[in-house]
Structure formats: C-alpha cells, structure tokens
C-alpha cells in the first residue's frame, strides 16, 4: 500500500477546498439557511406536523441530503476532472499508485468535505428549529456512506466528462431534481397513489427516508432497504471505477 501517495492526494485535495473555503462551505450554508427561512419558518408554520414531527424539523434530513449529494458529486468530479483538463494527470498515471489508492485519496477527500458540510448544515438547522436525533449512530453511518458513494459517483463523472458543462449538467439536471422529487420537503404519503408508485423508482427517496428514520425513527420506506440500496450503489460505482483503471478508459491512450 502506497500510504504516502494516499496522504499526498488526500491533503492536496483538502487543501484545494481550504483555498476556496468561502465558496465550498459558506455558499451551501447560506442557501440552506434560506430554505429554512422560506420553507421552515414562513411556510412551515402554516403546515401541519408530519408523523408528529414539526415541518421545520421534518425537512432537516432532506436538506442535508440535498447539499450532501450535490456537493459530493461536484467536488469529486472536479477533483479528478481538473488534472485531466490541465494535463497534470500525467503525474498520477506515471506514479506507483493503484486505482484503490487514487480512490482513497480523491474520494476520501471529497467525502470528508461532504461530511463536514453536512455537520455544518446540521448545526445551522439547529439554530432555526429544535430537534433531537433518535439514532445518532445510524445518522452518522448514513452521512458517511452517502458522502462516500456519491463522491464515487462524482469521480466517475469526472472521468467521463469531456467538458466543464458536463460536470455541471449532472448535479443540476439529475441530482437536484431527483432530490427535490425524492421527498425532501414532503412525505411521499402526501402524494396521490399513482405518484407514490412513480416516486418509488427514484433511488434518492430511499436515501432521504433512511436518513430521516435515523433522525426521527420513522420513515416512508424500510430502513434496511435504504441501506442495501446505498451499498449496492457504492459497489456498482467501485466496479465501474475498477474497470476504468484496468482498461485505462479516458486515462491512458
């Protein structure tokens, strides 16, 4: 195991985040605060409680999830796309670094950043609404697993993309809509039956609900199923990345 390489990539990537600390952390915190002001306080005060959870508290896990998914994907994709774009990737390709080590460095750093971001949003939310986390261990587990798996997904995106637009298209056009439609701001039980069925095909429903279960002990779907979905997704991403490194697709000519 090339431990020094993992450390070098990991600290390099986190260092990149620190240089752009304001964009990286302040922007999501500001937008989350806005969601709380609009949905939590202004609209939420007129909404009834959902499963005995106030509306403001109900949306906390969904909002964290929204930031976690989009940030994980964009950070990890940017981290590996940038050296491809500038040509500095030659150094990684010529180094004694395995695919696993590269992943640990790049994806580890992106996921770390997401976890920190999730915690900051959690803290911000606590300023707006009172809530308790029923299963703190599982909340942490979901937070980490989801950060890692969507950072893996972002890594694939960064390898696949051949332009900056493609990097932005996936978070904006796919992740954000699926998260909004995945029960971030509502319980899917509020939907008409047909839409409930359609919604079940949105994988993000399971993530949001699993996370919400960890917070409040109740969920629209089974928590075991949520966890298996995440693990399957993660395994799929790892398999794709292993294939990419093995064949050199988009990396080696």
């Amino acid at each position: 195991m090339n431990f020094f390489a993992v450390r070098a990539i990991y600290t390099f990537e986190l260092g990149r985040t620190l240089r752009t600390l304001f964009q990286s952390l302040a922007a999501p915190v500001i937008s989350t605060s806005l969601y709380f002001i609009v949905f939590g306080s202004a609209i939420g005060s007129r909404m009834q409680t959902i499963d005995n959870v106030s509306y403001g508290a109900f949306i906390v896990p969904g909002l964290i999830m929204l930031a976690l998914l989009t940030e994980s994907v964009s950070n990890a994709s940017f981290g590996i796309y940038l050296p491809r774009f500038t040509g500095t990737i030659y150094e990684l390709l010529s180094a004694p670094v395995s695919a696993l080590e590269a992943l640990m460095g790049y994806v580890g750093a992106a996921a770390t950043k997401s976890v920190i971001l999730g915690l900051i949003i959690l803290g911000t939310a606590r300023l707006f609404v009172p809530f308790e986390i029923v299963h703190p261990f599982w909340a942490a587990a979901f937070l980490i697993l989801i950060s890692v798996s969507f950072s893996l997904f972002g890594f694939i995106l960064g390898l696949w993309a051949d332009g900056f637009e493609k990097l932005q298209v996936v978070p904006i056009m796919i992740i954000t809509p699926l998260t909004f439609l995945g029960g971030t701001f509502y319980s899917i039980k509020m939907l008409p039956p047909t839409w409930q069925t359609v919604t079940m095909f949105n994988p993000i429903v399971y993530l949001v609900n699993g996370f919400r279960w960890a917070f409040y002990g109740q969920s629209d779907v089974g928590v075991g199923f949520s966890l298996s979905m995440i693990v399957v997704f993660m395994a799929l991403c790892v398999a794709i990345i292993a294939w990419i490194f093995k064949t050199g697709w988009r990396l080696r000519t």
Partner: protein, 314 residues
C-alpha cells in the same frame, strides 16, 4: 568503457503501439539503455519519441512487447518500475494555484516516499527555484514552470530520468543550467534518456544516440563510433590556376577536382582528423609545386548524419 559490456537499466523488446484509429506509432522497437549513461533519442516530429517515453512511464498502453525498467516489468510490476522513473513531460502541465514548495512535496509523496524537506530544498536550490518556493505556479514564467516540472520529476530520487524535449522553447540560461544539472545527475549515477531537436546538444551531451523515424529505430550507437563511422571531413583547396584533370599523383581515394577545376576536394571519413588531413594535403601540394589561394576544412556534424539517415529512410 568499451571493454566492459554495460548491463541495461531499461530493456525494451518488440514494442508496438497502434493508437485507437489505427495509427501505427511504434513498430517493433528494441532498445537497451545502459546504466548510468546519457542517451539521446533523436527523430523528426511524429517519429514516436513521446509515445515511446509514454509507454515506459505508464501514460500510454503498449499494443505489444515488453519493457523492463531496473529489473521490473512495467506492466506486471508497475509499482517497483515506476518508483525508479522520473518524467519531465514535453508539455508544460502544472497546477496553477499551488505553490512550488507544495507541488514538489506532493510529487514525492505520490511516488511513495516520506517527506524530506532537506532533499527538496537541495533540488529547489539546484534549479534556482528556492527563492520562488512560496510563489504560486500560475505566476511563474514558462522557463520557471519547466524548472518546477524537473524538480517534481527529481523529488522521489529516480534512478532513470526521462526528459522529453527539455530545451524546446527554453532560454539560453535555463538550457545551460539544465545541461549542468543533467551532467551532475549522471555523475550521481542517474541514467538519463532525453529527446531533443537540438542535435548539437545531443552531440555535446550524449554518450549514445538512437535515431527513430516513422516508429522504427533506425540506428543506435555510441556517439563517437557514430561520428567515426558516418562523419566526414572535407578539405577544399582553392587552386591558383584551374586544372582540367586530376594530376596522377593526387588521384588517391577521396580526392576530386571540383568547381570546374578551380578547387581540389579531399573527403576523409572518420571522426575529426581534419587537422592532419589538411596538413598532409598542403605539404603534398607544395611539394608538387601546385599554387593555391585558400584552404577550407569542414566537418560533417551529427546533424548532417542525421539528415542523411532520415532522408535515406524516406
């Protein structure tokens, strides 16, 4: 040097590269690099130099053949092989927002070595980068960026260093520094493989020279042997009175009457024996009572040899 057979540090056998799209960039390349030498790979644009280096360093996937670097197969045992190799690429690819200090330390870590600030300081000082260590790379000149790339390549103490066109578009000062550094590295036992367009540089620096054209190695030899075998010295004597035919006692090999009989030309093969060749000829001219106006000696450079070779291929 000639008595002992040097053991190869890089051994390339039957290397093939066909790019996606079908372009055949390397055609069964065999090449041994000797431990501790400076090897210059010469070839026109598109000959396959960068492709060859790319395969050895892990950037390009070979279509066939094997490469052993310092005893390690670059495909099966890529970790050990790559740990020995440093690469200064042809293109200036650098991180923009990093400082010189960070980027060079990053390289060392990437190649699996623990931090060593003393070593990195020495490398930066040797390359006149020490004063710039806290500068962001984006703000450096092209020449300085190239120095940074060299520092990165040396940060993990490679035993084999590839320099792909290191002096293309580089100012005189940096070129001089770079050659001084290459010699110093060679003195410390590092094997250096470089490609260059400046043939005089290969002539001045290299122990051995390989010529590649159209993806094929067309010649590999020690520089001196090459110059001896293919180099020519030409002595041209401007005659006071033109001659219609070569005098009988001057009709030896390599002698010719040129420029409508106004000059006598002697072509000698072998490396740099022009001095005695010209002197001998003058003595003979004086002895024969042939008057002359001028004597000019020219020696074919590696460049002439190179152009001859590549033209013959085409």
């Amino acid at each position: 040097m000639a008595s002992q057979k040097p053991e190869p540090i890089v051994s390339i056998v039957g290397l093939e590269k066909i790019y996606q799209g079908g372009f055949h960039a390397l055609k069964s390349v065999d090449l041994d690099i000797h431990r501790g030498e400076i090897f210059a790979l010469l070839g026109p644009n598109g000959a396959g130099k960068t492709t060859l280096i790319g395969i050895v360093c892990g950037l390009v996937r070979a279509t066939g053949g094997t490469v052993i670097a310092d005893g390690h197969d670059i495909a099966r045992d890529y970790r050990s092989a790559r740990a020995k190799i440093g690469l200064v690429p042809q293109e200036l690819a650098t991180d923009m927002f990093e400082t010189v200090w960070h980027t060079v330390n990053f390289s060392r870590g990437l190649f699996g070595k623990p931090r060593d600030p003393v070593l990195i300081e020495r490398i930066l000082r040797d390359l006149s980068l020490w004063d710039k260590r806290h500068s962001k790379i984006a703000g450096l000149s092209g020449g300085m960026k190239r120095r940074v790339l060299i520092a990165k390549a040396l940060s993990h103490e490679p035993t084999i260093l590839f320099l792909d066109e290191p002096t293309a578009g580089v100012d005189v000062e940096l070129r001089r520094d770079m050659w001084a550094m290459v010699r110093r590295l060679r003195d410390n036992g590092v094997t250096i493989i470089l490609t260059t367009h400046y043939i005089e540089e290969a002539e001045e620096m290299a122990d051995r020279i390989g010529v590649i054209d159209g993806g094929k190695i067309i010649l590999i030899d020690e520089k001196h042997a090459l110059m001896e075998r293919l180099g020519r010295t030409r002595v041209t004597v401007g005659l006071a009175t033109p001659l219609t035919a070569l005098p009988a006692d001057f009709a030896d090999e390599g002698m010719a009457l040129t420029d409508n009989g106004t000059s006598l030309t002697l072509t000698l093969t072998g490396e740099d024996d022009s001095a005695t060749g010209a002197a001998d000829l003058i003595k003979r001219l004086v002895a024969a009572g042939l008057d002359f106006r001028s004597v000019e000696t020219t020696r074919s450079s590696l460049e002439d040899i190179f152009v001859d070779l590549v033209e013959k291929q085409a």
